[in-house]
C-alpha cells in the first residue's frame, strides 16, 4: 500500500459517533461496521485528507505505541475498509 497516497471515504458510507466510537452504515450493501476509539480516530484523520503516513505521524504523538505496530495495524484496517468499499482507491 502506498502510504503517501490520499484515500477517499466512500460516499456510500454513513458514519455516526456513538459513545465515542463509530458505527458506519454502507448504503449500497446495507451492511454496517463498528470502529473502536482508535479506529474512529483513524477514520476522522483519513476524512480530513491525511495520507496513511500522515495518520501514523499524528497517532504516534497521541498513543504510546511503536511506529511499526502502528503502521501494521493501520494497513490492516485500511485493507479491511477497502474490502468493504468504505474507502476508495487513492485519489489520482
Amino acid at each position: 500500500m502506498d502510504m503517501h497516497a490520499t484515500l477517499t471515504l466512500s460516499p456510500d458510507a454513513m458514519a455516526r459517533e456513538v459513545g465515542g466510537e463509530l458505527v458506519i452504515l454502507h448504503l449500497g450493501s446495507g451492511t454496517y461496521f463498528g470502529l473502536d476509539e482508535v479506529g474512529t480516530r483513524i477514520w476522522q484523520l483519513l476524512g480530513e485528507g491525511l495520507t496513511p503516513a500522515a495518520v501514523c505521524d499524528r497517532l504516534e504523538g497521541e498513543y504510546d505505541v511503536p511506529r511499526e505496530t502502528l503502521e501494521r495495524d493501520l494497513v490492516a484496517l485500511i485493507d479491511d475498509l477497502r474490502l468493504h468499499d468504505l474507502v476508495g482507491r487513492p485519489a489520482a
Partner: protein
C-alpha cells in the same frame, strides 16, 4: 490496537413468517370485506383510479391509521382521524420490466427470497407471493390481497408484523423487532434473532406479574427524555410447547387463534396501557449461552456494540434511501447512547425461566429506578 469490525448482517434481515412456517398451507383466504359508505378520508388507489373510502380507524405503533380494511388483530376500530396514515385496499400491478432492487429471505433459507421490493418512482412496490402486494404512496400503504393464498389471519399478520413496520420506517419511525414488557410504569425490551426466545421470555414475565405489551414489534420515541417505547400492537404468539407450559399456570394467558406455527395468545385486557408510550429502562439482546453450565448471564454492551445490534433488529424498507436511513440511523444511535443495553443469555428450559425473570428484574432495578425514580423498587421479582 483494535481496529476494524465488520458485521455482514443486513438491516433487512428481518423475522419472516414464510409459507414453511405456516405449515405449507395453500388454502384460499377468507373473503376480504370491502366496505363502502360515508368516508371522511378518501384515497385514490393509483392502479384502480377509483376512490376507496376509509371506514375503520386504528392505532398502530402510536400512529393513527385509517383503512377500508378490517384488521381483527387491532381490536375494535376507533373513530377516523384526519391525521395519520392510510392503509387502503387496491389492485397493484408490478412495474413493467423492472428488476427488484431488494429481496428478503428467511434466515433459514437465505438463498430463497420471498419478498421483493421494486422501485416504481413513487415510493416502492413490494411483492410477496402468497401474502399479497403492497405499494407505498406517500402516507398511504396500498394493499392488494387478491393474489394471497395464505389464510386471511396469516396475511393480516404478515401485513402488521412485516409490511406496516417497514412502511412506517420509511417515514422515519424507529421500529425494532423486540418483545416488550411493562414493569411498574417502565418497560424492558428484549431483542434478538428470530427463534431466540423473545416470546417465551415475554410469557415468563407475564407469569412473574409483568404486562406483556408485544412480543414482536416496538416503536421507539427518541425525541424526549427518557426514551420511550410502545407496542406496534398488543400481540403475543407462542409455539405449542411454550403455550402448553404457560397456559393454565395462573398467568392469565390462554390460547387464541392459530396464526402461523405459533398460536396467538389472548392477553389480559389492560385498556390504560394499549398503544401508550412508556419510558424504556433497558434493552436486552438475547443470545444463546456459550457456557455449558448455562447460567443466567447479563453483560454490558458499549453504545457502539448496542447500536450495531439494534440496527440489525430495526425495520427498514429501502437501505439505499439515504435520507430515510439517516433518520433511522440517528434514532438508533440516540437509543444506544441513552438507554443501557445488555446481552442476556440463559438456560433454555421452562423450569428455569422464573430464575431468568428474577435475575433480569434484579439487574434492571437500578435502571428502572433511574428512568422513573418512583417505579424502581416497587416490583417484586
Amino acid at each position: 490496537m483494535a481496529v476494524g469490525e465488520g458485521q455482514r448482517r443486513s438491516p433487512l434481515a428481518r423475522e419472516h413468517h414464510g409459507p414453511a412456517g405456516d405449515g405449507g398451507t395453500s388454502r384460499k383466504p377468507r373473503s376480504w370485506k370491502r366496505t363502502s359508505g360515508r368516508c371522511r378520508r378518501t384515497i385514490r388507489a393509483a392502479s384502480t383510479n377509483s376512490p376507496t373510502p376509509a371506514r375503520f380507524g386504528y392505532r398502530f405503533a402510536g400512529e393513527r391509521l385509517a383503512s377500508d380494511l378490517h384488521f381483527a388483530s387491532l381490536g375494535r376500530p376507533r373513530g377516523l382521524s384526519s391525521t395519520g396514515f392510510c392503509v387502503v385496499g387496491a389492485r397493484i400491478e408490478l412495474p413493467d420490466g423492472q428488476h427488484p432492487s431488494h429481496s428478503w429471505s428467511l434466515p433459514r433459507r437465505p438463498n430463497d427470497p420471498y419478498i421483493w421490493l421494486f422501485e416504481d418512482g413513487q415510493g416502492g412496490t413490494i411483492d410477496a407471493p402468497g401474502f399479497g402486494r403492497f405499494a407505498v404512496r406517500e402516507r398511504s400503504l396500498l394493499v392488494d390481497w387478491s393474489g394471497a393464498t395464505v389464510p386471511a389471519p396469516v396475511a393480516e399478520h404478515f401485513l402488521l408484523n412485516q409490511i406496516l413496520p417497514m412502511f412506517l420506517a420509511q417515514h422515519g419511525r424507529l421500529i425494532l423487532h423486540a418483545a416488550v414488557v411493562r414493569v411498574a410504569g417502565v418497560c424492558l425490551a428484549f431483542t434478538g434473532e428470530t427463534g431466540i426466545g423473545k416470546s417465551t421470555l415475554a410469557a415468563a414475565f407475564a407469569a412473574a406479574g409483568a404486562e406483556v405489551l408485544t412480543d414482536d414489534g416496538v416503536v421507539i420515541s427518541t425525541e424526549q427524555t427518557p426514551v420511550s417505547a410502545a407496542a406496534t400492537y398488543r400481540n403475543l404468539r407462542l409455539l405449542p410447547d411454550s403455550l402448553a407450559h404457560f397456559a393454565g399456570a395462573g398467568t392469565g394467558l390462554s390460547s387464541g387463534s392459530t396464526v402461523t406455527a405459533k398460536q396467538e395468545v389472548a392477553l389480559p385486557r389492560r385498556r390504560r396501557s394499549a398503544g401508550r408510550f412508556w419510558p424504556l429502562a433497558a434493552v436486552y439482546y438475547l443470545q444463546h449461552s456459550t457456557r455449558s453450565a448455562a447460567d443466567v448471564v447479563v453483560q454490558d454492551l458499549t453504545p457502539r456494540e448496542a447500536c450495531m445490534r439494534l440496527l440489525g433488529q430495526s425495520f427498514q424498507l429501502d437501505v439505499t434511501d439515504g435520507r430515510t436511513v439517516a433518520r433511522v440511523f440517528a434514532k438508533v444511535a440516540r437509543l444506544a447512547d441513552a438507554v443501557p443495553c445488555f446481552t442476556l443469555s440463559y438456560p433454555r428450559c421452562f423450569e428455569r425461566l422464573p430464575e431468568v425473570t428474577s435475575a433480569v428484574l434484579r439487574h434492571s432495578a437500578c435502571w428502572r429506578e433511574r428512568t422513573v425514580p418512583e417505579a424502581g423498587l416497587a416490583v417484586a421479582p
